[in-house]
């Protein structure tokens, strides 16, 4: 399976999958079910995470499809580079708003576990962001569909090149060196924040810090989430600025896979009954396995990140 296949497969998640998740959240509100609301919020976070490889494989597919140097027309005259770049620009805007949506969804999940209810203000923000994200996903999908379906645009004049959002961001980052350097620095601060707190939680679960109450760790979770958010944003900035560093880089795809697996592990662990364990008591074996695998996965993310220039062609 090529990255193009993967893009065509994954792009159903932020579109069809998103519609289903929104449908589920409407059912949750009508049924006044906190459980279904939780499931919907988890789905929003998951969709945002899957939107990242969707975006990434889109760039890889574009490079294969266009088969020309940047700023030059595509090798096949039937393929329009301006259209591809508009799709990319629409996709980066959707991805940004979807990531913000997932951030509020995560805050909602965290608040629910501490207060046993969802604050109305957060659900209202998520609802507005969902409508906005869905609109942006539909726009990106519609433009994307036109790339390989010229019959949709039949009779219309060929699109002229215009500065799209993604290419404008890329140009800005590539022309102002400090943005790359400061993003790198923030990426390291973010990873320390995330891994430092994950380490405490996993050491607690594994018994090294058995006396630590899980309720204490709960209060540190937003800082780990902040570290993760900083790294998603800075990581995507690198990718948007220099997709050619990553689309053919095996270490990058491994890193992405490990990020997704580690995130899935974290989302699952969020609901593990281990969190109700009293200080000094041991958690069950399953929880220990999840905690140990979380450490392995996050260390794996760092490993593949470090290998980007050595196994692949970054920098």
């Amino acid at each position: 399976m090529s990255t193009t296949h993967l893009h065509l497969l994954l792009n159903h998640v932020p579109t069809v999958g998103f519609v289903m998740a929104i449908g589920l959240s409407i059912v949750a509100i009508i049924a006044r079910s906190d459980l279904l609301k939780q499931v919907s919020l988890v789905a929003f976070v998951g969709i945002a995470l899957v939107a990242i490889p969707t975006y990434v494989t889109g760039n890889a597919a574009a490079q294969k499809l266009c088969a020309a140097e940047p700023d030059e027309p595509c090798a096949d005259p039937a393929i329009s580079r301006p259209l591809i770049e508009r799709h990319e620009g629409a996709a980066v805007l959707f991805l940004a708003v979807m990531l913000v949506t997932s951030g509020f969804a995560w805050i909602g999940l965290w608040q629910h576990r501490r207060m046993k209810q969802f604050p109305a203000w957060n659900l209202a923000i998520i609802a507005v962001l969902c409508v906005l994200s869905l609109g942006l996903a539909a726009r990106a999908a519609a433009i994307g569909g036109e790339i390989r379906h010229p019959e949709i645009r039949a009779g219309e004049a060929p699109l002229a090149a215009e500065p799209t959002l993604a290419r404008s961001i890329a140009r800005y980052i590539n022309n102002t060196p400090w943005t790359w350097i400061s993003s790198e620095t923030l990426h390291f601060v973010g990873l320390s924040l995330l891994v430092g707190i994950v380490l405490l939680i996993d050491l607690r679960a594994l018994g090294v810090l058995r006396a630590v109450p899980f309720t204490a760790l709960e209060r540190l979770l937003p800082w780990a989430a902040l570290g993760f958010a900083v790294n998603i944003v800075t990581g995507m900035l690198f990718f948007v600025a220099r997709p050619d560093f990553y689309t053919e880089n095996p270490a990058f795809y491994w890193k992405l896979l490990f990020v997704l697996l580690a995130s899935a592990n974290t989302l699952y662990f969020f609901f593990d009954e281990g969190w109700t364990t009293s200080p000094g008591s041991d958690v069950r074996l399953v929880t220990k396995v999840i905690a140990a695998s979380a450490l392995v996965l996050w260390v794996g993310v760092m490993y593949w990140g470090s290998m980007l220039p050595f196994i692949g062609n970054s920098f």
Binding site: I181, E184, T185, F188, V189, L191, S192, L193, L194, V195, G196, I197, L199, L200, L203, V208, L209, A211, V212, P213, T215, A216, R219, L220, W223, G227, P279, V299, M302, Y303, G305, S306, M307, P309, F310, I311, F315
Partner: protein, 163 residues
């Protein structure tokens, strides 16, 4: 300078510099990142706890984390010296490296002081955290942030050996 040149010509340094194996420089760089996340991230978590993001009466439970952070520091001292040896003559005259080392040493000193003054205090979980201890935690956060910033900038400021 002669010492730095000599250091760079040691077989270990030459191996680190010239080997194309992933087990040479790439692995050391990764281990250095791993150690950084443990020391800087773990210290930050302790600082957050001291600063009040932790339930009252539960600080003592964090005591066992200090050996883990020390292990992270040991890993980074080892990998850091190894990476330094690879290009000792170039790194050795990079001012930013010394700025980073100052931040790291200050951060480690603060970690030890916070452990002694706050965590080794038998009354830790019965009395409120003093404002002095909180000031130490803020200083620690500043030092680790400074260490990461200065560390990242080594690749961009002053003489650089390249990747």
């Amino acid at each position: 300078m002669a010492f730095l040149e000599w250091l760079q010509q040691q077989p270990y340094s030459v191996w680190m510099n010239e080997s194309s194996s992933l087990w040479a420089f790439p692995m050391f760089l990764f281990m250095h990142t791993l150690g950084m996340s443990v020391v800087a991230g773990g210290s930050a978590a302790i600082d957050f706890a001291v600063l009040g993001l932790w339930p009252r009466g539960a600080l003592k439970s964090l005591n066992n984390v200090f050996p883990v952070l020390m292990a992270g520091f040991a890993l980074n001292a080892f990998t850091g010296v190894s990476i330094f040896m690879k290009d000792a003559a170039t790194y050795g005259i990079n001012i930013d490296l010394y700025v980073k080392l100052l931040f790291v040493l200050a951060g480690m000193a603060l970690l030890v002081v916070i452990r002694r003054r706050v965590f080794d205090n038998p009354e830790i979980d019965t009395i409120p955290v003093s404002s002095g201890a909180k000031a130490l935690a803020w200083a620690s956060l500043a030092c680790w942030t400074g260490a990461i910033v200065a560390g990242r900038l080594i690749a961009y400021v002053g003489p650089v050996p390249g990747l």
